[in-house]
């Protein structure tokens, strides 16, 4: 692994099920994440993914790539364009820096309307490294 290395993109279909399952699994019962009618009353065109789910997906994207021995140390994300049902988010990543046993990965998630998430993930790697 070296700086600048690109992670293979991960395409995530933004289904209504994913949005609701993610919200409930994160114990987030804000209506904008499960009730389309109330979301519209609040000016949103539909329900949208909550930040905890985005956080979980970003973490998964990085550990999927580095393997089960890699451990997340820091995840910092910023949200932009919301993830609405029917959209697809494509996560891409690039290795920003590598030191002994630790790597920093820049992650971007683009959906059909723009940039849903940008983030930086710090992960520790097992001795001997990963491919």
């Amino acid at each position: 692994m070296r700086e600048g290395e690109e992670l293979p993109p991960l395409e995530i279909p933004i289904t209504r099920t994913l949005i609701v399952a993610g919200a409930i699994a994160s114990r987030d019962y804000q209506d904008v994440h499960h009730d389309a009618e109330l979301a519209r009353q609040k000016g949103s065109p539909d329900i949208f993914m909550n930040i905890l789910t985005t956080n979980g997906l970003v973490g998964r994207y990085v550990t999927d790539h580095f393997g089960p021995d890699a451990v997340l140390r820091k995840v910092a994300i910023r949200l932009g364009a919301p993830n609405y049902p029917g959209d697809t988010m494509v996560l891409t990543g690039s290795v920003e820096s590598v030191a002994v046993g630790i790597a920093t990965v820049r992650v971007v998630g683009e959906n059909g309307i723009g940039r849903h998430v940008t983030g930086t993930v710090t992960v520790t790697l097992p001795p001997g490294g990963v491919s």
């Binding site: 114990r27 089960p68 995840v75």
Partner: protein, 335 residues
């Protein structure tokens, strides 16, 4: 979008302080005063002595992994750890509400609600994981209001960013930190749905068709007749399609006709019209065809062959008078 510090269901009442007529557009002085009051909450606690509703546990880990599609073996089986990104989950109040939430934080959100900044959206989450969390770990947490921004205008609306920093402990030992930023905002106003209908488009009148529109003004539908070959033509043109003659005179249409063809407009909506509506191509008994509206029948009852009769309808508005030829279903024509 919620955190260990969630939006209250209702705004905390603020005696004697009415919301501005247009949230986020209060006067300069008021905004400055609000800004000062908000800043005073920096450094105050957001949550004190919060206790996770459930200890870290395998079922919640599994539900999370299923939702995320995360098949990492580190999160399953004996010796499993929780996905680190679940840090905030263990502090969530769920449907039964929060523990440990501070009065200061409720006041801060209530102040913003009362000032019209009623919506909330999460914008940033920064987490650091100090040790793995394992099933059985008991979670406690404290949080502080780290900062309240100046008033900002975003695409969502105008509001204030509130940043909180939470220290999460497991069994009393530091397990992670969770910095969370929300935007508390007054939604940008959208076009009201019941906006006044815009004015109906006006005909473009020129030398070639002025005679037609003058006729309409007298409630006459005039058809051009070629001076060379007597062919009737409509709409009005300078010359004859059949013989090329530039000579013409007019005949007045009797007004009888049938629907030759039609479309029903659903989309796109134009502000001057209420979709759905039918636009018909009416064939007059004289043999020429004219595009117009069919009145006296619902849009979905318009059919090819429907007998119709000319009438003149007024569409006066703030631009002035407007008379247009339309076609009403003839008796016995409907159904």
């Amino acid at each position: 979008m919620s955190t260990g510090v969630e939006k209250p269901e209702r705004a905390a009442p603020e005696a004697g302080r009415p919301a501005p007529a247009v949230p986020g557009r209060e006067g300069h002085e008021e905004a400055e005063e609000l800004g000062v009051r908000l800043k005073a909450y920096e450094g105050r606690p957001a949550a004190v002595g919060g206790v996770g509703k459930d200890p870290v546990n395998a079922p919640m880990i599994r539900h999370w992994c299923e939702a995320m599609g995360d098949t990492n073996p580190a999160y399953a089986g004996p010796g499993a750890v929780a996905p680190p990104t679940m840090l905030q989950v263990w502090t969530m109040g769920g449907l039964s509400g929060h523990t440990g939430r501070s009065a200061a934080y409720d006041e801060l959100l209530g102040l913003l609600d009362t000032a019209g900044y009623t919506s909330v959206v999460a914008t940033d989450c920064e987490q650091e994981y100090l040790r793995p969390l394992r099933p059985g770990d008991e979670i406690t947490f404290d949080a502080v209001i780290e900062s309240v921004s100046e008033r900002k205008t975003t695409r969502l609306g105008t509001g204030y960013f509130i940043t909180t920093r939470m220290d999460v402990r497991a069994g009393g030992e530091p397990a992670g930190t969770h910095r969370f930023r929300i935007l508390k905002y007054a939604p940008a106003r959208r076009k009201p749905k019941d906006r006044p209908r815009s004015r109906r488009p006006r005909p473009v009148v020129n030398r070639d068709n002025a005679g037609f529109w003058e006729g309409v003004g007298r409630h006459q539908l005039l058809i051009q007749r070629c001076g060379g070959c007597t062919m009737l033509r409509f709409p009005w043109l300078p010359g004859c399609n059949a013989c090329g003659s530039l000579e013409w005179d007019v005949v007045e249409a009797s007004g009888e006709g049938t629907v030759y063809s039609y479309v029903v407009m659903h989309h796109p909506p134009f502000e001057a019209f209420d979709p759905p509506y039918a636009v018909a191509l009416v064939e007059l008994v004289e043999g020429v065809r004219i595009v117009s509206n069919v009145v006296g029948v619902p849009y979905d009852k318009v059919r090819i062959g429907l007998p119709v009769r000319l009438e003149f309808a007024r569409f006066d508005d703030e631009d002035g008078e407007l008379v247009l030829p339309v076609f009403r279903v003839r008796e016995g024509g409907e159904g």
